[in-house]
């Protein structure tokens, strides 16, 4: 089969590649040429063959499969689906007797990628325009967004904030481990390397080889409140947690409202929409009541020994408003505090200057945290970065020094 025989196929492949690119896959012109060649070689015997041929060329990460799969089916299979996708973007009129099917988030992104200029689509649904906005993002606009409370953000600003969060990195301070690595300026002598180096010169000179300790960030555990009082923030925090989970290893994430759910595995998904979709499917207590005390108890008995090993750091995100009795909360918090390296409490309510920990729950938590910070806008998340990368003494070590000073 030569190029001439395939008729409009190369054009279609090119258009398909453009759709993928607009949907966020890194597809370059080189890949388009490769795809055309691959299809030439493989032939277009069946739809499945075409699917896997294109898949082999365009997809190079596991998390791109979802997008590719949906794009393929919409683009190559059924023009009707295409129509339906288009209708989803058009303003709906009262006469319509059929509600559009609940489309998955990734689907929407694709639809946006295919029909970016469709009238009726809101600004929020146009990634291309967003990119434009990003490029032209003036300094002042960014500044304003930084300090805007998540609660008062418009849909569009929320989208931008999500992007900013995804780009954030959390440099947690590294702690020394008991492992060593070769280091010319290290403090310890690496005997094995020394002897080897010495033999190289016949044993007459012994050049010292040195090594130093390997540093590594401690494990991180995030506990996030998703109850009703936090609902304006919890979406944003989930994006934050997703960014953190994907940025490093040894991160465990939990959400709690009336009960505790471990969402670490879902958040490991690279694609943020798929990850958050999985989370919302698995969590049943969105925006309900809060039972902090109960959830902390669950965490302490069921999870703490499994995830708090090796000096973990805990980030607790909650407003401290507990629907249920809080008499045991102090006790549970104390236990949690004692079994981790450092505990950080992030409270969105702290944005009010005159905030005082008056709620019974908050009063119980406060004595047992190492640091108490606000988290209500982008700036406070960025500040958090600074706090995590600062060097701080371990609680036990601090006590030990005091003892030494006394003696």
């Amino acid at each position: 089969m030569t190029m001439a025989d395939t008729g409009r196929l190369p054009d279609n492949i090119m258009h398909f590649a453009r759709v993928l690119r607009a949907a966020g896959l890194p597809v370059g012109p080189g890949q388009v040429i490769e795809a055309v060649r691959a299809v030439e070689v493989a032939g277009i015997g069946s739809r499945d063959d075409l699917y896997w041929t294109l898949h082999a060329v365009f997809v190079n990460r596991r998390d791109q499969r979802e997008l590719f799969d949906q794009a393929f089916h919409i683009f190559w299979r059924n023009p009707r689906i295409l129509e339906r996708a288009m209708s989803m973007l058009l303003p709906t009129f009262g006469a319509e007797n059929e509600a559009p099917p609940p489309a998955r988030e990734a689907n929407r992104r694709l639809a946006d990628a295919m029909f970016p200029k469709e009238p009726g689509a809101t600004a929020e649904q146009k990634p291309e325009e967003e990119t434009l906005l990003d490029a032209a993002f003036s300094f002042s606009a960014q500044e304003e967004l930084k300090t805007r409370d998540f609660e008062s953000m418009s849909a569009e600003e929320v989208e931008q904030a999500k992007k900013a969060i995804a780009a954030m990195r959390l440099p947690i301070v590294d702690v020394k481990t008991r492992r060593f690595k070769a280091d010319a300026r290290g403090r310890r002598v690496d005997m094995r390397a020394t002897i080897r180096a010495s033999l190289r010169s016949g044993g007459s000179i012994i050049p010292l080889r040195r090594r130093s300790r390997v540093c590594r960030h401690p494990p991180l555990v995030v506990l996030c409140d998703i109850s009703g009082s936090m609902s304006r923030y919890s979406r944003m925090f989930l994006h934050f947690m997703h960014a953190v989970t994907n940025d490093r290893d040894r991160v465990s994430t939990f959400v709690f409202g009336t009960r505790l759910t471990n969402v670490t595995r879902y958040l490991r998904q690279k694609d943020v929409d798929v990850a958050l979709g999985d989370v919302s499917e698995s969590v049943q207590d969105w925006s309900g009541g809060t039972r902090i005390s109960r959830c902390m108890h669950d965490f302490n008995t069921r999870w703490s020994r499994r995830v708090l090993g090796q000096g973990a750091m805990v980030i607790l995100i909650t407003d401290g408003l507990d629907r249920e009795g809080t008499e045991n909360l102090g006790f549970e918090m104390e236990r949690l505090h004692k079994s981790c390296r450092r505990m950080l409490w992030l409270n969105p309510l702290l944005r009010y200057e005159k905030y005082e920990a008056k709620a019974a729950g908050a009063r119980q938590i406060l004595p047992h945290v190492d640091e108490f910070r606000s988290i209500h806008n982008l700036e406070s998340i960025a500040d958090l970065t600074g706090s995590l990368s600062r060097d701080w003494p371990r609680t036990e070590e601090a006590t030990a020094t005091t003892w030494g000073a006394v003696a």
Binding site: R179, T194, L199, R306, G309, R335
Partner: protein
């Protein structure tokens, strides 16, 4: 020396001979792991008898027990092998004094078995007259991921490459038992290469059998009461539930105190043997213990 068991029943009786009361599930997993030469991965709370299995296997099969206790920062030098540096230094000086200038010869002399200090993992690969040894890798969760990754390689081929020396390969793979207290999750890649078994708390019947074996001095009534009390304690909302090791400790302690039956005062005084957290002790001590004891006694009375 004894041959490897040929059936699940044989495995059960093998454990029984080593004074280990096992359920059939554990015996099945153990049998498979012995038969097919795969490592056995045992997980469970502290004090349920994970480590004991390796001891029992080594005793009953007459094999050498090689134990590697894991800890954070465990590295090749303390787990696999290390060179004897001071001896090597002296050897270099001696060679110098004797006027040996053949560098290659010196290299092979220095890095020979004479100067190799073998650590547990390497020891386990060595041939043994009584058959391949039992390798116990204890509390793997205490070490870090890099060591786990290293272990993957070792468990796949049972060979260790020492760059200066040679590749050491086991003629017959050792019997490998890995235990974990689950202070962190072990990576799936390692679990996949092992047979996994979760050792839970035993039921009353099995716990009584264990107690009769381990603390034969305890009076029949005392043993029954101890088991019933511990079993009901495990239904309470405690931070750390007492394991079998604690039950045995408690029984031995009560025997030492010449007790023939439980009474509230003794329970309160010796609760520290069973429960290891102050909050748990405070919760149970006093009225709660008395209540549990009453319940246990009435249950035992109706059972009789």
């Amino acid at each position: 020396m004894r041959d490897l068991p040929a059936s699940i029943d044989a495995t059960l009786s093998l454990l029984q001979d080593g004074n280990y009361v096992s359920d059939r599930a554990l015996a099945t997993t153990l049998f498979l792991s012995l038969k097919l030469g795969r490592p056995l991965f045992l997980e469970g709370d502290a004090g349920v008898g994970k480590t004991e299995i390796a001891n029992v296997l080594s005793q009953t099969l007459g094999r050498r027990l090689v134990r590697l206790q894991c800890y954070e920062g465990l590295d090749v030098a303390s787990a696999v092998y290390e060179w004897n540096y001071p001896a090597q230094m002296i050897e270099i000086r001696l060679a110098e004094a004797e006027g040996v200038h053949d560098r290659k010869q010196l290299g092979t002399d220095i890095f020979s078995e004479r100067f190799l200090i073998k650590r547990p993992l390497l020891q386990a690969l060595e041939p043994d007259a009584s058959g391949p040894p039992v390798l116990l890798i204890d509390e793997l969760d205490r070490t870090d991921e890099p060591f786990e990754a290293y272990l993957l390689e070792l468990l796949a081929d049972f060979q260790v490459t020492i760059p200066e020396f040679e590749t050491v390969k086991a003629k017959e793979p050792p019997i490998v038992i890995i235990t974990s207290n689950r202070t962190r999750e072990i990576h799936d890649a390692l679990k996949r290469r092992c047979y996994y078994h979760w050792i839970g708390y035993p039921d009353a019947e099995r716990e009584l059998a264990i107690l009769n074996l381990k603390v034969p001095g305890a009076a029949e009534r005392l043993s029954r009461e101890i088991v019933a009390f511990v079993q009901s304690l495990r239904e309470q909302d405690l931070f750390k539930l007492p394991g079998i090791a604690e039950t045995i400790d408690w029984a031995s302690a009560l025997v030492q105190l010449d007790k023939l039956a439980l009474d509230p005062e003794t329970v309160n005084d010796t609760l520290g043997v069973l429960l290891k957290y102050q909050d748990d002790i405070a919760k149970i001590q006093g009225s709660e213990a008395a209540k549990l004891l009453d319940q246990v006694n009435s249950e035992l009375a109706t059972a009789r």
